[in-house]
């Protein structure tokens, strides 16, 4: 069901672990739903003064697809300017992996969201201007998290007990 590229990235994931000196972190997913991705970015200015994702890493709790998409999004974003990285979508991630089973497409969305959230966190903390598209996605992600938490409320309560 998984493509060879997915299996390859799952078998030997790139950029895994936690960066020691990251600039910002994007946290998405929920443990009760089975996928959690934390994406760390280290942002540095390039020679022209543009913000560049100089280094990137991730920690993921999730299935084969979640781990492969974490690996792929980190490859795709590494070395890109923030402006370029913002434009990366879940479709780019899935395409580079040679596709994902339909039921696993949400994993590629999670990976793209994690990148979005890390960039959003970075721009916010630096007091920099946040592009409209990034803000819209951030609001959409926050809304989804709230909806998920509501959906799994009954289970979450059980967890506490």
């Amino acid at each position: 069901m998984y493509t060879e590229r997915v299996i390859e990235h799952f078998r030997t994931p790139h950029n895994m672990g936690k960066l020691d000196d990251y600039s910002a972190i994007g946290k998405v997913g929920n443990i009760v739903c089975g996928d959690v991705m934390w994406l760390y970015i280290k942002v540095e200015p390039d020679d022209d003064g543009r913000d560049v994702i100089a280094d990137i890493s991730w920690e993921t709790f999730g299935c084969t697809a979640a781990i492969a998409t974490s690996s792929m999004v980190s490859d795709l974003a590494k070395g890109k300017t923030i402006d370029e990285a913002i434009r990366l979508t879940n479709r780019d991630v899935a395409k580079e992996l040679g596709g994902l089973p339909p039921i696993k497409m949400h994993c590629s969305a999670l990976a793209a969201d994690a990148l979005n959230e890390a960039i959003y966190a970075y721009l916010s903390q630096e007091g920099k201007e946040i592009p409209e598209a990034l803000r819209t996605r951030h609001e959409r992600i926050a809304k989804e998290v709230a909806a998920l938490e509501k959906r799994y409320e009954a289970f979450a309560d059980k967890d506490k007990g």
């Binding site: 443990i31 009760v32 089975g34 996928d35 299935c63 084969t64 979640a66 289970f155």
Partner: protein
């Protein structure tokens, strides 16, 4: 892959060579339709009835109490729907939250047909109490369905006690014995209906049976030529039935010795796996089928665990949501109160007659590596 270790025998089992041998004449040589009058038909009919006698004798039933089906899903549906539609005025069915979906969804479907269904909860080990069944039975209850041993966590149910409750109240008892046949003595004397499936005990896929106690009335769910004494129409799967009989013969002969061996392997796994921090055993430590052990690992998702082990040639399964078609975690793990975060990290290991101690040890060694590796890339750290 240099080697492969199959520890997913609850999903299906390899066919025993004796079973393949027993079946092979019935594909291209003795291929008659058992309903035909001529010698081809008579030969097939004879083989089928001999198989029925073998199975009946092993189970402790009468040959006419054995109905051949295309597997346990059909047997479970025939038992539940068949009993419901033959029940006259009674409209209520009792079952449990940890049944296989072939029971649970058949019962749920009955709701759409105007029946009432009570789904009993289970304790933290997955056991249902006879008292719960007694309390759930109403004057209009027609059937109670409780599995013999659970396919995900292995927990055994007190079928004999539940059977006594059902007898007292004049209610039929069905048990799904799919995982139990060949592993433990079957509670045949306590039940009215019992389902089994050949491929779970080293027989072929696509064939199973329903034991129907003499005098129990079922409305057929497949209509047609009136095969199986009108209870299940459709030309019988003669090679399958012959294979099921050969597999049952082997299973009953080997049962006690094999169960003892598999139970020791289960103990060995439990002792080693529970040494890994952030691990739990799902199910009952002792009141369990001998061949199933289910564990959960903190901070790890089960599908990844299965895939990492698969890379090493080890086949196991998980109740993780990510591995299920509906992205819901196992209903059995949820029913026994496993926190969702731990239900995602579940692993089912199921041994079989071909499993060796060495294979189990190799699995245990690989498991530790794989668990450590996945935890290293997880945002959640065990013990924090």
């Amino acid at each position: 892959m240099t080697r492969s270790i199959y520890l997913d025998n609850s999903a299906t089992t390899p066919m025993a060579p004796e079973v393949v041998d027993a079946m092979s004449p019935y594909f291209a040589a003795a291929y008659g339709n058992p309903s035909s009058l001529h010698s081809f038909g008579r030969d097939a009919h004879r083989a089928m009835e001999k198989s029925r006698e073998t199975i009946a004798q092993l189970l402790g039933a009468r040959p006419d109490e054995i109905v051949f089906t295309a597997g346990a899903t059909e047997a479970n549906n025939l038992a539940i729907l068949g009993a419901a539609f033959a029940a006259g005025g009674r409209r209520h069915v009792v079952t449990t939250a940890i049944e296989h979906h072939a029971v649970l969804y058949a019962a749920e479907w009955l709701r759409t047909q105007g029946f009432d269904v009570t789904v009993l909860g289970v304790d933290a080990a997955g056991r249902v109490g006879p008292g719960q069944v007694r309390d759930a039975i109403r004057p209009d209850t027609l059937l109670v369905s409780v599995m013999t041993g659970n396919n995900e966590i292995g927990t055994l149910q007190p079928i004999d006690e539940i059977g006594r409750v059902c007898r007292e109240r004049g209610v039929l008892l069905h048990t799904d014995a799919v995982q139990a046949l060949g592993k433990i003595p079957l509670p045949l004397g306590s039940v009215d209906l019992l389902s089994a499936s050949a491929h779970k005990f080293h027989g072929p896929k696509g064939v199973g049976l329903l034991f129907v106690r003499s005098g129990v009335r079922l409305t057929p769910i497949l209509h047609g030529g009136g095969h199986e004494r009108g209870r299940r129409s459709g030309t019988e799967n003669v090679p399958g039935v012959v294979g099921m009989a050969a597999a049952a013969d082997l299973a009953f002969r080997e049962r006690d010795a094999m169960s003892e061996r598999l139970r020791a392997l289960r103990e060995r796994m439990i002792a080693t796996v529970t040494q890994i921090p952030g691990t739990r055993l799902n199910g009952h430590r002792t009141e369990s089928l001998p061949h199933i052990a289910n564990f959960s690992f903190e901070a790890i998702e089960g599908e990844s665990l299965v895939m990492r082990l698969d890379e090493r040639g080890i086949a196991v399964s998980t109740g993780s949501a990510c591995s299920s078609p509906d992205l819901e975690p196992s209903h059995v793990l949820v029913a026994i109160g496993v926190p969702l975060s731990m239900a995602h990290g579940s692993l089912r290991v199921s041994t079989g007659r071909q499993t060796t101690e060495r294979e189990v040890d190799e699995f245990l060694g690989a498991l530790r590596d794989v668990v450590d590796g996945l935890r290293a890339i997880s945002p959640f750290k065990v013990g924090e």
